[in-house]
């Protein structure tokens, strides 16, 4: 196989990330120093991020049968890299108090990020599988990074066992599809399966099993059970990564797969997806209502948010702008989650045992840390989809897609979900402004705003508000990157 120069250039983000990975391994082997590790990681990820314009300039490039670097891929690579960079900065503050080896945190993070990049461009079941595994395996280590904490270790083991089971489903589903179509690339699958009679058992079985795997990674009901425990147990920076990068990348490949393989729109699968969307929205929101742990609450909230996004997939063959809507919504979700988890990270940094995740730790925070609280308030409003935040633009698009596709009952589920969701976001907001309790367990450091993590948090808040007021740049950006090459 020969590579042209533009194909190599198209691979730049991936190459730079893996390059940073190797450099970091060598650096660790030579001399342990968490500052160096941080610098190498940040430099690698930043270079990868800034190489995206170069990649874009190459036009659509199919690199090997495995990867398709088109506008769609570049956009999601951007999201993945931004999420990973933010996680690094949160991680750095958190690791300051961590009494063990700190460098591997960055290494695992880089591997997972590379997995996310692969998924963003994946057009082949093999690269899909490689990407998902590269993304998931390092997460076991990251979730259990604070292994001295019982919760963290438990979460790691739980995530590992369940994830392995889900991967097995995914793999088996792929095998069935291969048996039917004789190929693993999305476009071949699309072409061959288009002629297969509807409701073919092998096809339905394959797609169904793959759906189980995807649903697990995206924590869609009824495969969501791991989510709250893992979110709670994972250190706050890792939970950030789990909520953003890992889910965004998997969603990206699911949407591409769904668009490329028309058989996936079989009525049976369509209804299955729709039912999962509704159930995820309802269950996620209902279970979040009574949480007193903010990380668990965010876990349930992410279940419902991916339920909303699944609605976009369901509508994607009926409406005009599913890719645009998914892009806008995920961009919103990324910045909002970064802000929200960033605040939790700030509160839990540096590492001092269990994270500051009970709602009680946030009581009256406004009267001590007004700016940090303002950020969290904005993020809660954005997640709830209140106007003047980016969240509203996301919700606007979301409802727009379902209305355009005339899926009224899905619109109804989203309406119900937003009303339910508002309740627990408001509960967090209320807590922030209550009178302070007498004793204070955990608090953000006084100088949180001038740490790199603090800057990321403030920047996300500024973006969420500014783009909520003037969303045109977001929409133009997403429209500029929405060309999906399917064949």
């Amino acid at each position: 196989m020969t590579f042209t120069a533009s194909q190599l250039l198209a691979l730049l983000p991936l190459l730079l990330t893996t390059g940073a990975m190797v450099a970091l391994m060598l650096a660790i082997a030579w001399k342990r120093c968490d500052d160096t590790a941080f610098v190498v990681t940040i430099a690698g990820l930043n270079l990868a991020l800034f190489s995206l314009p170069i990649v874009m300039a190459q036009g659509d490039q199919g690199v090997t049968p495995l990867l398709q670097i088109d506008g769609y891929a570049v956009f999601y690579m951007g999201l993945v890299l931004i999420g990973a960079l933010a996680t690094c900065t949160f991680g750095r503050s958190w690791l300051k108090g961590y009494p063990d080896n700190r460098e591997e945190f960055y290494l695992l993070l880089l591997i997972a990020t590379a997995g996310g990049l692969v998924l963003a461009g994946s057009r082949h079941l093999a690269s899909l599988y490689i990407g998902i595994e590269m993304l998931t395996l390092p997460m076991f280590g990251l979730v259990g990074y604070a292994y001295r904490e019982r919760h963290s270790l438990e979460a790691s083991i739980k995530y590992m066992v369940l994830s392995a089971a889900a991967t097995a489903f995914l793999l088996f589903g792929m095998a069935l599809l291969y048996a039917q179509a004789g190929s693993l690339s999305f476009s071949d699958l699309g072409l061959t399966l288009a002629t297969t009679p509807a409701h073919h058992p092998l096809l339905m079985g394959g797609l169904g099993l793959m759906l189980v795997g995807f649903a697990f990674k995206l924590s869609l009901a009824p495969f969501h059970l791991w989510t709250p425990d893992v979110y709670e147990g994972a250190p706050a920076p890792v939970a950030t990564f789990l909520a953003t990068v890992s889910k965004i990348a998997v969603f990206c490949v699911l949407l591409r797969f769904y668009l490329a393989v028309p058989a996936a729109a079989d009525p049976m699968i369509h209804w299955l997806l729709a039912a999962m969307a509704v159930v995820s929205i309802v269950i996620g929101n209902l279970l979040a209502l009574l949480q007193t742990n903010i990380k668990r609450m965010m876990g349930y909230s992410s279940i419902s948010h991916f339920g909303y996004l699944l609605a976009v997939i369901v509508a994607s063959r009926l409406g005009q702008m599913p890719v645009e809507a998914a892009g806008v919504y995920l961009l919103m979700y990324l910045f909002t989650s970064l802000g929200a988890f960033g605040v939790i990270s700030m509160m839990s940094s540096p590492y001092r045992g269990k994270d500051a995740d009970s709602l009680h730790s946030y009581r009256g925070l406004f009267w001590r840390r007004p700016y940090l609280t303002a950020v969290l308030t904005v993020m809660m409003l954005s997640l709830a989809g209140i106007p003047m935040t980016l969240g509203f633009i996301g919700k606007f698009y979301l409802i727009g897609v379902t209305v355009d596709a005339k899926l009224w009952w899905l619109s109804g589920a989203i309406v119900l979900g937003s009303a339910l969701g508002l309740y627990y976001y408001l509960r967090v907001m209320v807590t922030l402004y209550l009178r302070e309790p007498g004793m204070q367990l955990r608090d953000a450091k006084g100088d949180w705003a001038i740490t790199s993590g603090g800057l990321v948090v403030l920047l996300s808040a500024a973006l969420v508000v500014a783009l909520g007021l003037y969303p045109q740049p977001v929409i133009s950006l997403v429209q500029g990157f929405q060309n999906v090459v399917l064949h």
Binding site: L381, A384, G385, I386, P387, M388, F392, K395, F396, I399, G400, V403, D404, W408, S411, I414, V415, S418, A419, L422, Y423, L426, R427, M429, V430, Y433, Y470, P471, Q472, I475, S476, Q479
Partner: protein, 543 residues
Amino acid sequence: MIPWYQNLPLWVTFLPLLGALFLLFVPKGSRRTFELGALAFTVADFLLSLPLWFQYNRHDGGVQWAFSADWIPSIGVKFSVGMDGISLVLLLLTTLLGFIVVWCSFTAITERHKEYYIWLLVMQFSMLGVFITQDMFQFYLFWELMLVPMYFLIAIWGGPQKLYAAIKLFLYTLAGSVLMLVAILAIYFLQLKVTGKADMSIASFQAMAGVIAHQSHTFQILLALAFFLGFAIKVPMFPFHTWLPDAHVEAPTAGSVVLAGVLLKMGTYGFVRFLLPIAPGATKELMPYFMTLALIGVIYGALVAMIQKDMKKLVAYSSVSHLGLCMLGLFALNPNGITGGILQMLNHGISTSALFLIVGIIYERRHTRLIAEYGGLSKTMPLYATVFLIMTMSSIGLPGLNGFIGEFAILQGAFQAAPWLAVLATTGIILGAAYMLWLYQRAMFGPISETNAKMADLNLREIAYFVPLLAAAFWIGLYPKPLLNVLEAPVEKLVRQITPTYYDQVDLTKGQKEAAKVGMAGMPAPAEAETHEEAEPSHGGGH
């Protein structure tokens, strides 16, 4: 570039936001700075809004002061402002109440002044924004944004059950408004399909009425219901009213005043601006149900108000009753009813706000709102008793005060549309007189307790903020003509949007018009002459 004074609505709206930003950068500590700062900004805003009254062209029912700029071109959203007469009167009511609520908070708010006044100003900004907007997207933005400051005003400075009340308020209204968003988007995509261009302006939505009328019956009904729910929860109409008493009881006085005075008007304004012109067909079909709900609200609200032991709750339920009446007028879908409904919005804004201020004043002195705790206050607080009496009379619609004009027009309109409902609605008005007078009697007359005897009468500041409300009550009651002139053209336009042939019919049946005049002549003095004139313009539109 248009000179700034021709763009006044924009300045009036953004001045409070400017004030909020200004206060944000004032260091904490000096309570006086925030109080006076907020007052200065709101008074300036009120003064700035007054010229609008004179700039307004009374012969043009369309949008005036129009200004628009691109905002989100991809989805056809513009930053678009402009007002007609209906928006104008509500905007003026808002700016008037704006400085009153700041002023009444000087002693009531004892902690966290900075945040409080900032939220009040943001509240003011978002409410004004709703009235000046000419774009659906922008409207929805302001419509929901409003909830955030209100939520904080109740959740931080409210009573013992404040969290419950604040969350309930937010949840109820949000659930309704998201449904409305679905309806908005449904029209948007329909328009995109029909005309091929993305446009979110209110005018283009209203222009869609013809296309919507040709959609399937179910679509029309669902569309109307989605809008209806969004607005009915905000009004609130029976049976969606349960958030209102809770929110009122827990809110600080200023919060209650804003809530009753302006926030509830958003719902009724929404009906006037969106539901009626956009889906007139379905609205007409659903009119009997809507009117029945409004009527139930009138009577139910009054009955529940009668048995309240808590003054604030009583006033809150009276709101349910009064707004029911307002909706009854609007759904009559004729000029009298709609004009009456709009007047009722204004009157309710004046008298109920004043009543909340009145309750707030004795609450500040005694820290209880139980009616049983009071009695004989007229002996020690004569000025207070006078203001209370005038506002009670205004609330029950005594001729010569503002309440009467609105109620009369509503009943007239409702009688034309559904005579029996109008007849039943009068019982609500009678009940209204009963609970208000009974409240007044229990609180103001009878023996006075020792604690109550020590209560101080109104001070200068309190008198000062009642003066504009009293003046407005008398002005509307005695000489409503200028106000009716302002409303005439936009109401006529609205009625034409609902029933294009309405005025032709009226012209053909001159007798009906004469009959209306005869009906007017039988009205009791002293408002006779004025109301006679009042009826003139709202009927004369067909010439």
